[in-house]
């Protein structure tokens, strides 16, 4: 082919398109996008568009019947694929189409590569770091739940949620496939404004493909930055969804999520039962101590009462004794005391005839002389 000065040359349209196509053929590339507006032509070629999931840019694509047959992928709208090929302008319409030579599901290999890239990026930023994980508060009451009301998830969750007076608010959201992302983001935003203690995001099991939404970067970041602790019950694949990794706590099933939020209450009930037993035992101990003390008191009291009685008897005896010994009383009764030479006369031997005998009586002394002694 001759060297031509393109800027000077005036091309016929067909010539120009041919020239462009030569250049375009060199722009071989892999493109990734979501399949939309798909139709099969009468010839069996497949016409579809690939849409950029971020900004919605669209690329018209064609895959020839033969290539389509070989690639083994059955296209469907909404499917995310990677197409490899080069663009071409179709002269009759002037329209640019990406001629895909091969297409593959943006799953497995590519999906994994993309997943790994994003995982590393978010990991570097510390989105998954353990330090920023919050524990589930104890005794939570208000729970926000985001899940699909279709399927067994919500029933599994409710059946395993113990009766501890939880106030559960549920937002029904699509959870499968790429289109679920927007739903999930809207639900997260709604719950951000609500007064909840914890948020639970759940989905049932499914293929890696159907888990795509939970590897979405924006969703993952939203979960990491959510104002209250987030529990993810997204299911465990070999590669954990990024959203689950960003959540504060990740469990594998809705049942496990329900057990988790019930856990602190459950433990409290056990503790209460134990404390109740301890309290009963302590009370029994106290009753025993009390009865011991009463026994002790009874003994002390009766001992003291006996002591008092003894003192009383002692005083009474002494009083009687004093009465008996009171010389005044003796004298008043008519007894008298005789003294001879200053000595009490107790026998005839104490007296002598002619001696003075002083007789003490109750009101004085009678002085006499001894005349006679019989003895």
């Amino acid at each position: 082919m001759e060297e031509v000065d393109v800027a000077e040359k005036v091309f016929a349209i067909s010539e120009f398109i041919t020239l462009l196509n030569i250049g375009l053929k060199r722009s071989r590339a892999k493109v990734i996008g979501e399949v939309c507006e798909m139709k099969t032509g009468p010839s069996g070629h497949i016409y579809f568009s690939l849409k950029d999931e971020k900004d919605g840019s669209v690329l018209s694509c064609i895959i020839w019947k033969s290539s389509y047959y070989v690639c083994g992928v059955r296209l469907a709208e909404g499917m995310k694929i990677i197409a490899q090929g080069s663009p071409q302008i179709y002269a009759p319409t002037g329209r640019l189409s990406f001629i895909a030579q091969t297409i593959q599901l943006a799953g497995e290999g590519e999906l994994k590569k993309e997943y790994e890239r994003l995982r590393k990026k978010l990991e570097m930023e510390g989105v998954f770091s353990l330090e920023r994980k919050r524990p589930l508060p104890q005794y939570i009451e208000r729970i926000g739940v985001i899940t699909s009301m279709k399927g067994a998830v919500i029933a599994d969750f409710s059946n395993n949620l113990k009766r501890f007076g939880f106030k559960v608010q549920i937002i029904d959201s699509r959870v499968e496939g790429q289109s679920a992302v927007q739903d999930l983001l809207t639900s997260l935003n709604t719950f951000k404004k609500k007064d909840i203690d914890a948020l639970v995001i759940m989905r049932g099991g499914g293929s890696l493909e159907s888990m795509m939404a939970f590897n979405n970067e924006i969703l993952t970041r939203e979960i990491a930055g959510f104002p209250v602790p987030v529990v993810a019950g997204i299911g465990h694949h070999k590669d954990q969804p990024l959203a689950a990794m960003a959540a504060d706590i990740s469990v594998s099933t809705p049942t496990a999520a329900a057990m988790l939020v019930s856990d602190s209450w459950q433990r409290a009930v056990l503790l209460l039962e134990r404390y109740e037993q301890i309290t009963v035992r302590r009370f029994e101990d106290i009753m025993e101590i009390k009865s011991n003390m009463q026994e002790f008191l009874r003994k002390s009291f009766s001992g003291f009462e006996a002591l008092l009685l003894k003192v009383k008897q002692n005083l009474k005896q002494t009083e009687e004794l004093m009465n008996a010994n009171n010389p005044e009383r003796q004298l008043r009764l008519g007894y008298s005391i005789s003294l001879c030479g200053g000595k009490v006369v107790k026998s005839v031997q104490d007296a002598k005839i002619g001696s003075d005998l002083d007789i003490k009586v109750s009101d004085g002394t009678i002085y006499t002389k001894i005349n006679k002694i019989n003895g």
Binding site: Q294, V311, L315, T318, N326, P327, E328
Partner: protein, 72 residues
């Protein structure tokens, strides 16, 4: 209270001494005997008063303990 309790004790001891004085007396010393009797009567009277106080106090304590007992 401990001091007064000792007083009652002391009084009983004194009374004991007086009674043994009478027991051991061979000669009747009317004046001394009268003194001892008067002393004994005074001590007995005081002791009875003190005993009454102690009894009252004891009753109070018993009542208090009983009230606490009902609190259980």
């Amino acid at each position: 209270m401990a001091k007064e309790k000792q007083n009652l004790n002391k009084s009983l001891k004194e009374l004991g001494e007086i009674t043994s004085w009478f027991d051991n007396q061979k000669e009747v010393d009317v004046e001394e005997g009268l003194k001892k009797v008067k002393e004994a009567v005074r001590i007995i009277k005081e002791s009875k008063e003190r005993l009454k106080e102690v009894e009252n106090e004891f009753e109070e304590i018993k009542k208090e303990i009983d009230l606490e007992g009902n609190d259980y």
